[in-house]
């Protein structure tokens, strides 16, 4: 069976039909002090594909997403977005790449001094000065309608529930029409109904927009629903990567235990 590293190496090269992987992570290592969080991880994601990254708490899943969007610098290894290594890029050059990426934070990270509409309009105001204010307003309404929040434009983030905050966070992440979507625990802390709604929303967006997505989650049911491939992390390494059926058929003890406990 090909390892994740082999897959990444193979997929980094343009394929015969000319489509290269959108995100390629290779030999990524990251430590915080003496605590080694990632120990040489290699992964790749293609356009229109969703990769779910699973694992126990503290296995470096969120750190992996932060490395991919450049919020953290790896100790070694590379992160290629559309073939360009982003490690060590200056903040402004990184900004150009980040315009192609949307990030949903675990706790939504909405700007608490701005209304829901202003939160979603925030990326437009900074990057789409070419469009008029009324057009911007229409676009914000449209995005909020997509996530089912069109009725709460003037509310403050503190006035809405956690699930609603995640919807707004998702609308903000989609504002610049990203080609890559990174979701950090999109269903964590939500009741089963809200989780299901978020999953449906992600699936709908994937169908419509064909983004390359990486979803970090503990929720195996959610991962199975929204992803094409899954990767299980443990102690900074990818233990297994493949379809859900591959995980089910695996003899690895940790994989069996993870599936059993989930």
């Amino acid at each position: 069976m090909a390892t994740a590293y082999d897959i990444a190496m193979k997929q980094e090269q343009p394929e015969e039909d000319g489509s290269a992987p959108v995100v390629v992570v290779k030999d990524l290592q990251k430590s915080f002090g003496i605590n080694k969080v990632l120990n040489g991880i290699s992964l790749s994601v293609n356009r229109g594909e969703t990769l779910a990254v699973l694992g126990r708490s503290g296995t470096g899943k969120s750190v992996l997403l932060r490395l991919i969007i450049g919020l953290e610098k790896p100790d070694s290894g590379s992160v290629r977005i559309h073939g360009q290594n982003i490690v060590g890029l200056a903040l402004d050059r990184m900004g150009e790449i980040r315009k192609k990426m949307g990030f949903l934070f675990q706790h939504a990270a909405l700007y608490d001094s701005l209304t829901i509409a202003e939160n979603v309009a925030f990326p437009f105001e900074h990057h789409r000065k070419d469009i008029s204010r009324s057009e911007r307003g229409d676009r914000v309404k449209q995005l909020l309608a997509e996530v089912g929040m069109e009725g709460d434009l003037g509310k403050m983030p503190s006035d809405i529930s956690g699930g609603m905050q995640k919807r707004v966070g998702l609308a903000r992440a989609l504002a610049l029409e990203p080609e890559i979507l990174l979701l950090d625990e999109p269903t964590a802390g939500l009741d089963p109904i809200s989780s299901g709604e978020i999953d449906d929303l992600i699936l709908k967006l994937q169908r419509e927009r064909q983004m390359a997505s990486i979803v970090v989650t503990h929720d195996l049911h959610s991962a199975k629903t929204i992803s094409n491939r899954l990767a299980l992390l443990d102690q900074g390494n990818v233990v297994i990567e493949g379809k859900f059926e591959d995980l089910q058929q695996s003899d690895i003890g940790l994989v069996k235990e993870f599936l059993k406990q989930s």
Binding site: G95, A109, D112, F122, L176
Partner: protein
């Protein structure tokens, strides 16, 4: 029971107190960590300043946020510095009149008040008031944004947080400090004159004419404009402390406290240096 009483009653000498020895190596380690932390803090501050400076001078410029911060730092601090200035004016007026009367130099009162307020008290009091109000505000706001990942969200949205958050706040502090100092000075002179005229009637026109007689711009402009440096210190330290915060609500509180304490301390230290600098450059 004293040691002597203890011996008299029991016939046994009291136990000797346990001598706790601290190994020299641990003292050296502690001092080393302290010195290391001190230099690390200054190093990080220098790197932060460089990032902010680079972000501030390159487009796109965040005009809207700058205007919002000018209002936040300037207009909203105005009542506080005006009140502080008014209080200083009364205090200096009362003290100066008493001291000058003892030496038979009452005619020097207007000039004493004008020079005391504009050259000495106004700038430093404004610096300390703004350190408290604005330093704590910026420190707590940015720290809260940091621990709730809002700063990361700004960066993830392809917006440079050093430009949007830090450069605008620091620039607002730099631009507003001299204006707030003028307000402090103005209120101080007004209440100083008023307190004096309650005892000995003196027209405001006479007071000003007498106070500023023979004065040059060199006497008043450098002390007022030096407060722009205080603004830089306050904004820089508050943004730095806020944006490097870790650790939830406790971290936010610590950032706000450290912003005020460090900004106030560095404003006072800067005053020492700037007074000497001004005396040398503008004799």
């Amino acid at each position: 029971m004293s040691d002597r009483e203890h011996t008299a009653v029991t016939g046994i000498n009291p136990p000797l107190p346990v001598q706790r020895t601290v190994p020299i190596s641990s003292v050296v380690d502690s001092v080393g960590r302290l010195v290391n932390g001190f230099f690390e803090w200054f190093g990080s501050l220098g790197i932060f300043f460089w990032k902010v400076l680079r972000a501030a001078v390159t487009p796109p410029y965040e005009w809207r946020e700058l205007i919002r911060q000018l209002d936040e730092v300037g207009s909203k601090s105005l009542p506080l510095v005006a009140l502080a200035g008014a209080a200083i004016g009364v205090v200096v007026s009362l003290e100066a009149r008493y001291s000058l009367s003892r030496f038979g130099a009452k005619s020097m009162f207007p000039a004493t008040l004008v020079y005391s307020v504009i050259q000495v008290m106004g700038p430093i009091i404004t610096g300390l008031i703004v350190s408290g109000r604005v330093g704590a505000g910026i420190g707590a706001e940015l720290a809260s944004m940091k621990v709730t990942e809002q700063i990361d969200a700004i960066e993830a949205s392809a917006i440079n947080p050093y430009r949007l958050l830090a450069a605008t706040r620091i620039l607002a502090c730099i631009l507003m400090m001299p204006l707030l100092t003028v307000a402090t000075d103005g209120c101080g002179l007004l209440t100083g004159w008023f307190a004096q005229s309650l005892v000995e009637p003196l027209s405001f026109h006479q007071f000003i004419a007498s106070g500023f007689r023979g004065a040059t711009f060199n006497a008043f402009l450098p002390p007022t404009f030096k407060t722009a440096v205080y603004g830089l210190i306050i904004g820089l330290i508050a943004c730095f402390q806020g944006m490097r915060t870790r650790g939830g609500a406790e971290g936010v509180g610590r950032a706000a406290t450290n912003s005020v304490v460090l900004a106030s301390l560095f404003v006072i230290l800067a005053d020492v240096v700037l007074v000497k600098f001004i005396l040398v450059v503008f004799p």
